[in-house]
């Protein structure tokens, strides 16, 4: 409908215009620093109810306690982060570039390889765009479809306003504000994020993606996501973007909570490609994320799939608490590091219910001077009769200056449990490359093909479109890693 399109166009161009007023923006920025006043300011600005302010303040309290003693168990030295130097509300919007000519040519080349449409390239690179017609109209149609089914899918801010009872009931129940220092920080200052509720017996008819909420694209730093699948519901959620996204914020501390009730299923897929820093390891995002789901009801299922190629440091353990009897937890991961990147990632499977099952497939790929660690925990509680876990943890090394590490923890308190762990470390063989060379593939393509084959078991778990993009992403990330 032309009128609607016109409205959307108008709306978006107005918004851009609005942000263009520098004075206006200035007023919305809080000076750097973290204290009670900061929290009160954020909460007031967002017109939040009293209980949420209280909740945030408790988060701050725990953050203060936990930050006295920063974690040291990880397989890298945590860089010093000056939490008082960060501005916690409406981080200054970057100056909009006038055209793609001002964008780093290396990034443009990557866009080109990924086949990203021009308008989207502009958006990702932070170039001013009037409106992205296709995405906007698609988003609108999708919203209507979801409404019909009674599915709530909106920003966290909107959810707090319109569905306060649901938010209050579930927020912080899986990742409490006392969980760890970054989760506490997130609780205190979370900016926005996604909220999704799928009602009883409803199967969400499409893959939900943050991509459809363009206006939320600047809330990345302290994002908070809450997804609830009520009894018998199903939802598949995609997070992230394969295109490299420049970001001025160095620290990212997101929290994701998933709740699956009786016979419900949640599938959560991530492609993470934040700025990894330059070839010498300068700059780049610290990605300290807490993701956890709970299979609350019997026969519920939560499945995490992640492709991690970005960030200077990734610290991330998407986990599942298997509380309901016969519930299932899955974790499929490809983590690829190069140059001086660091990844310390894995999962926790906490078996509490009877006949609970979990499956962990982790594929690490390390190149350059990078360090890639798998850290996993499988815990079987005393009540979890006949719990089962299968863990497969593979590492692929490209070159001889990178590292692959595995830290699997097993804690079993029930004699009826069956736990399996398999691990391999391998290199790409010269004769594999030569074989592919002899069939017309250059070495770079050959390695990309081998790596994609290696990661296939995980990539197969991604939704179709995402999987194709992720394959390309792996190939591109390998560029220059083969010498």
């Amino acid at each position: 409908m032309p009128t609607t399109d016109q409205d959307i166009l108008q709306k978006y161009s107005d918004q851009e215009y609005e942000f263009g007023f520098e004075t206006h923006v200035e007023m919305e920025i809080l000076p750097p620093g973290l204290n009670e006043e900061t929290i009160r300011f954020i909460s007031a600005k967002k017109e939040e109810p009293e209980w949420l302010l209280e909740w945030r303040l408790k988060g701050l309290e725990h953050f203060r306690r936990l930050s006295q003693d920063m974690p040291e168990w990880q397989n890298f030295k945590l860089p010093h982060i000056d939490f008082q130097a960060i501005s916690y509300f409406a981080a200054p919007k970057k100056r909009k570039l006038k055209s793609l000519d001002e964008v780093d040519p290396e990034i443009l080349a990557t866009f080109e390889k990924l086949g990203i449409p021009l308008e989207e390239q502009k958006m990702l690179a932070g170039v001013a765009v009037d409106a992205i017609m296709d995405s906007v109209s698609v988003a609108t149609t999708f919203q209507e479809k979801l409404k019909e089914k009674g599915i709530i899918f909106c920003s966290m801010g909107e959810a707090v306003k319109h569905y306060p009872d649901l938010v209050k009931k579930y927020l912080g129940t899986v990742v409490p504000y006392s969980d760890n220092v970054f989760a506490a920080l997130n609780a205190a200052v979370f900016s926005d994020g996604s909220f999704c509720y799928v009602p009883k017996g409803v199967r969400c008819p499409m893959e939900l993606s943050t991509y459809f909420r363009i206006n939320a694209s600047n809330t990345g730093q302290f994002e908070r996501t809450l997804i609830i699948a009520d009894e018998g519901a199903y939802v598949s959620y995609l997070e992230g973007c394969t295109a490299p996204k420049r970001d001025e914020n160095q620290l990212h501390a997101a929290v994701v909570e998933l709740i699956a009730l009786d016979h419900a299923e949640i599938k959560y897929s991530t492609v993470q490609n934040w700025f990894p820093g330059d070839k010498n390891g300068n700059g780049g995002v610290f990605n300290f994320v807490t993701k956890r789901g709970i299979c609350k009801g019997p026969h519920s299922k939560i499945s995490w799939t992640q492709v991690e190629t970005g960030s200077a440091i990734t610290w991330k353990y998407p986990s599942v608490i298997l509380q309901g009897d016969y519930s299932v937890g899955e974790f499929y991961s490809v983590a690829m590091t190069r140059n001086h990147q660091i990844a310390d990632t894995g999962t926790k499977m906490i078996h509490l219910g009877k006949h609970t099952r979990s499956r962990i497939i982790s594929k690490g790929i390390s190149a350059g001077y990078s360090q890639n660690s798998y850290r996993g925990q499988v815990r079987v509680g005393p009540r979890a009769d006949f719990a089962r876990n299968f863990t497969q943890c593979d590492s692929l090394l490209l070159g001889d200056k990178c590292g692959a590490h595995t830290f699997p923890y097993i804690d079993c308190q029930n004699p009826t449990a069956i736990l399996e762990h398999e691990a391999t470390t391998s290199k790409i063989a010269e004769d594999q490359i030569f074989y592919l060379n002899q069939r017309g593939l250059d070495t770079e393509k050959a390695v990309a093909l081998i790596v994609n084959g290696y990661a296939r078991e995980v990539l197969n778990n991604l939704p179709m479109e995402f999987a194709v993009e992720a394959q390309k992403l792996l190939a591109i990330s390998l560029d220059g890693s083969v010498g």
Partner: protein
Amino acid sequence: MLQIKNLQASVNGEPILKGVDLEVKAGEIHAIMGPNGSGKSTLASVLAGNELYEVTGGEVWFEGKNLLEMPPEIRAREGLFMAFQYPVEIPGVSNINFLKTALTEIRAHRGLPPLSAREFMQRLKEKQELVEFNASLVNRSLNEGFSGGEKKRNEILQLAMLEPRLAILDETDSGLDIDALRIVANGVNKLRSKDNAFIIITHYQRLLQYIIPDFVHVLYDGRIIKSGTKELAYELEEKGYDWIKESVQASLS
């Protein structure tokens, strides 16, 4: 099509090829025979561009171009194909995806657009039938868990799909039972034409009962010491390689 002049090559500093001369024209099938360690597989690897082998002298011209200056993938795209003695396994990479990728690269080199999925599948089906390749194998990972015979037959399927000008079969007959041998040979016979050529490297004369070569060469101690027609292969089978060795030594002394 192919001219090899005084080709010399070594592995880890040890000379293996000590001056090989060979000319192959379009439409011809050449068999290269010889005892173990005579340099047969080295010759194949050097022609394909395996960097483990160092070329220390001589020249090789392929379709008028200097073959030795090309990296292995360019040799492949120019139309040189090697059927490996020990095809490698590449886990997780589907046979179909691999074939499509290879074909696309080779076609691009020749200025041809990629085949559409439909055209590709049509061609794959035809070639599979031509070389009697089990259809279920193309959906599996490249050579992963294939039997020795299946791997060799997969090499012939690739040969059929990629349509090279010159194919080098490196001991393709080794480890094949009689049925597989016949299937492989039939495949080659159906693929031969006046425009392409084959170099068949083999230890035994067995394969040459099915694929009739135009020329037979005996490689010994890094040199071709005797050339002839298919009768030479029968003679070798009958008298063994010692007969040749002796006659060479006799002529030297």
